[in-house]
C-alpha cells in the first residue's frame, strides 16, 4: 500500500469514526425518534453503544497521553541535562523529590500548598499590578477618543466595584455596563465559539484538518 493511500486510509478511518460517533450519540440519546414501537429503547441502547465505547477509548487515550507527556518531559530535560542546563537539573530533582515525598508521606500534599499555590497565586497577583500600570499609560500613545473611552469605562467599572456609599450612582452605571454591553459581548463570544467548534468539527470530519495523520500524504 502506497504512502498516499495510507494517508487516505487514515482520513477515511477518522471520518468513519466521527460519523459513527455522531450518529450513535444522535440516535442513542433520542429513543423517541423510533416512536413508541416495542423494542425501541433496546434499539436506542444498542445504537448508543458504539459511540460510548469510542468516547471511553478517547478518555483512556487521553489518560495515557498524560503519562507519555510526563515521560517526554523527562526525556527532554535529561537531554538538556547532558548539555549542562542547570534549570533542567532543578526540574528533575524537584520531580524526584516530589514523588519521594508523596510516596513516603502517604499522599501528603503539603508541598502543593507550600510551593505551587503561593507561586501561582503570586503570579496571578502580579497581574493586578501589570494591568493597573498598563491602564495608567493608555493615553501616553493613544490620546484619542478610543483611548478616552477605554479609560472612562475602566474607571467607571473600578469605581462601581468600590464598596462606598458615596459612589452609588457610579455603581448603577457600572452595573449597566456589566449587564448590557459586557453581557452582550459575552453572548456574542459564546456564539462565535459555538460556530467555531461546529466548523472545526466539520473540517475534521471531512478531512480538511488532519491533525491525526502521521505525515503529509
Amino acid at each position: 500500500m502506497g504512502l498516499g493511500s495510507r494517508a487516505g486510509l487514515s482520513a477515511f478511518v477518522a471520518f468513519m469514526v466521527g460519523v459513527v460517533t455522531i450518529l450513535s450519540l444522535l440516535l442513542g440519546d433520542n429513543p423517541a425518534l423510533f416512536g413508541d414501537q416495542p423494542g425501541s429503547d433496546e434499539l436506542a441502547r444498542r445504537l448508543a453503544l458504539p459511540g460510548d465505547v469510542l468516547l471511553r477509548l478517547v478518555v483512556i487515550v487521553v489518560a495515557v497521553s498524560i503519562v507519555i507527556g510526563i515521560a517526554n518531559l523527562l526525556f527532554v530535560h535529561i537531554g538538556r541535562l547532558a548539555r549542562r542546563k542547570f534549570i533542567s537539573a532543578v526540574l528533575l530533582a524537584s520531580f524526584g523529590f516530589t514523588i519521594y515525598w508523596y510516596v513516603t508521606r502517604q499522599g501528603d500534599t503539603s508541598l502543593l500548598e507550600a510551593v505551587q499555590v503561593p507561586i501561582e497565586s503570586s503570579l496571578a497577583a502580579l497581574l493586578f499590578l501589570s494591568l493597573a500600570l498598563g491602564g495608567a499609560r493608555v493615553m501616553r500613545k493613544r490620546a484619542d477618543i478610543w483611548g478616552m473611552l477605554f479609560v472612562a469605562v475602566a474607571l467607571v467599572v473600578l469605581l462601581g466595584s468600590l464598596p462606598l456609599a458615596e459612589l452609588a450612582p457610579v455603581k448603577a452605571w457600572s452595573d449597566w455596563l456589566m449587564s448590557a454591553p459586557v453581557s452582550a459581548g459575552a453572548r456574542a463570544l459564546l456564539l462565535g465559539i459555538a460556530l467555531g467548534a461546529v466548523v472545526a468539527g466539520v473540517r475534521a470530519l471531512l478531512g480538511q484538518d488532519r491533525a491525526y495523520r502521521a505525515y503529509r500524504g
Binding site: L55, V59, R80, E120, A132, A136, M139, Y215
Partner: protein, 662 residues
Amino acid sequence: MSEEFNWLEYAEPEESAPELPQRSGRRRILPRLPSLPRPRLPRLPGKPRKPRMPRLPKLALLWRRRGEAALEQPSATDLLGGHDERSLDELDDRLLSLRERSVASSQPSADSRQALYDVDDVLVTPEILEKPGGVISAVALSKAQQQQVELLRDIVGGAPQADEPGGGRLFRSAPVFSLSAVPRVVGTGILLLMASLPFVSSDFSEGELPPSDFAEDRPGPTTVYNLLDNLSADDFVLIGFEYGPTSAGELDPIADLMLRHIVAQRAVPLIVSSNPIAIARAQNIIREINRSVASTELSLERGADYHILRYLPGGSLGLRELSENFADVVRVSAKGELTGLEFASLSEMSLIVLIAEYAEDMRNWAEQVISEADGARLLAATGYAAAPIAQVYADTMDGITGLVVGYRDAYTYGEKLELNFGELPQAQPEVEPALPETAPVSPVERAPATAQPPPTETAIPSATQLTTATPEPTVTSPPTATQLPTATATLETIRIVEVTSPQQVRIRRGPTTADDILQLARAGDSFEVTGANGDGSWYSIALSNGLEGWIAAFLVEERTVTVVEFQSGQASASANLSDERVFLWLESIVSLGKTRPRFYQSDSPVPGDELEYIWMRDRSREVPRLRAMTFGTLAATLLIAVGNVFYALAALRRRGRDAQSE
C-alpha cells in the same frame, strides 16, 4: 533566483549529534534565522572552573540519547533512517518504506528543490536578495505594525529590542536604575502600600463590608444557600472542584464554606474533578476543616463523611464519562481504593455543586453532566474574572439553579452561615478538657453543682468581681422548657453579654476607643464575660479565637448562663436569651473527654438526635482582606485616572506645539 543566495546552503547547520538525522520531509520556505550566540556570564577571577559532570551509567546514556532525540523533535521517519543496526532484509514493508522515505527526504530531489525555488521566486524578489542581509532584512514590520508593537511594549513595560542599546542579550549591561522606570516604580509602590495598609492597622477601614444576607435582586446566591441548607442527613452531594492554585485565593473560602455547610447537614459530599491538582486542593480544604476540630473523634473521615473520587481525564469527555458511567466512577477513589458506593445514576444525587475557575467549566458541566441527570440541579460558584460569561450561562441554561460570585459573596455566605448556626467557634489551639473537678471555677461566678433542672438563675456578681475566664463557648437559647431533657447536674454558671446595638459594634484590644479593633459583632452575638474595667464601662470578653477583647457596656446587655449536664452524659448551656434562632449544645465536654464541643442547630434540641452540626472556619483575616481589596482598587483607580490625565495633557501640549511649528 539569485546566484549569490542559495537557501539550501544558507540553512543553519544543526547542533545535534552527527549520528542523528536532520528533520526532513518538511519544505522550508524561508531560511532559518542564524542562532544567537550563547550568553556567558563573566567568570570571576580565581573562581575554579565547574567540575565536569560524572559519567552517566548505561541506562542514563540511553535516556540521554532519547532525550536528545526528543529535544530535536525528529519524526519517526527520521529516527528510522538513522538506525542501521538491522539489515534491510529484516525490515517489513512498512518499516522499509519509511526508511526509504527518510533517506529520500534527506537528499532533496530536483523536483522538491525546484518547487522550493519557485516558492522563493514568489516570496523573495531579486531586489530583496541583493540587499545586504537578504531575506532577513526584508522581513520587517510595517510602520503601523511597528507603532502597535511600540504601544504594546510601552504599556507592558517590555524589554528593549535587539537593535536597541543593550537589547537582545540575556545579560545585557543595562543600568541598574533608569529614570524612565520611575513612574512604574512609584505606581507599584503606591499600589502595594495601599493594599497593605489594612493588614498593618485596623484604622484603615474605609468601605462597607458585604451585607450579612444576599441582595433580593440577586436570587441566585440565596438559592444556593437555601438548597444547601435544606439538605438532610445522608443526602449525597456531588461537588465538582474545577479550579487550580491560581484561583485558590478567591475560590477557597466559598469552597470551604460550602463544604462545611454540607457536612453540617450531615450530607455526604462526593468530590470529583477533571483537574488533578484540584483534587489535591479539595483534600487540603477537608484537612483545614478537620484542623478546626480538636478531637480526631469529631473530624471528618474519608470514605465515610466524604469521598474524593478518581480523576476524570479528557476534559469534557471525562465529564461525559462521569454522567454516562456514574456507577463506575464512584466506585473508585482518587487513591485507587474502592469506595463502596453504589449508585445507578447521577439522578440519585440530591444536589450538584460546581466550584469553577473558568466559565468554560460551567458550560461543560451543564452540557455533559446536568443534561444527563434528570431533575438534577447545579449550584455554581466562580470568580469575578469568569462572572460575565458564567452569569450568561446561569441565566440561560436550565440546569444551573444558582450562582455565587467572588470573594464578597463568599463573605456574605459565611455571615449568613454563622447567623443561622449561631456564634460558632473558630479554629483554635487544642486545649485540655475542662473537667469540673479541676476547672478554675471562681466561687464568685460559678454556682456549685446541684441536681437541679435547668435553667438556674444565679445572682449576678458585680463586674469588678470577675477575674477568671473559662474556654467553653456560651450562647444558648432553649426554644421551650418542655423540650429539654432531664438534667442531672448543674455544672457552672457564667456571665455573658449579648450585643443589643442594631449597628455593628467593635471589639477592641483594650478598654478605650483608641485601641485596635479585633473583630466586629452584631446584634444577638454573645460573649462570655471575663472581667470589666474600673468604672464598669467596658467588659472584658473571651473571643472564640482564644483572644481577650473589650466591648463597651452600653452596647450590650448582661445575662447569666447556666451550664447543665444531662442524663445522656452530654452538657448544655442554657439561658433566657432573646435570640431564639440558636440553641447550642455542648456535647460531652466532661464525660467523653472531648476537648471541643460540637455545636448544633436549634431545630431539635434533644441530645442524641440526628442534629445538624458545624465548625466554622477561621474568618479573622477576611475583613482585612476585603479592606485591602477596597484600598487596592481605590489606588488603581486613582493611578489610572492621574496617569492618563497627565499623558493626555502632555499629548495636547505636544499637538499644540506641532500645530504652531506648522
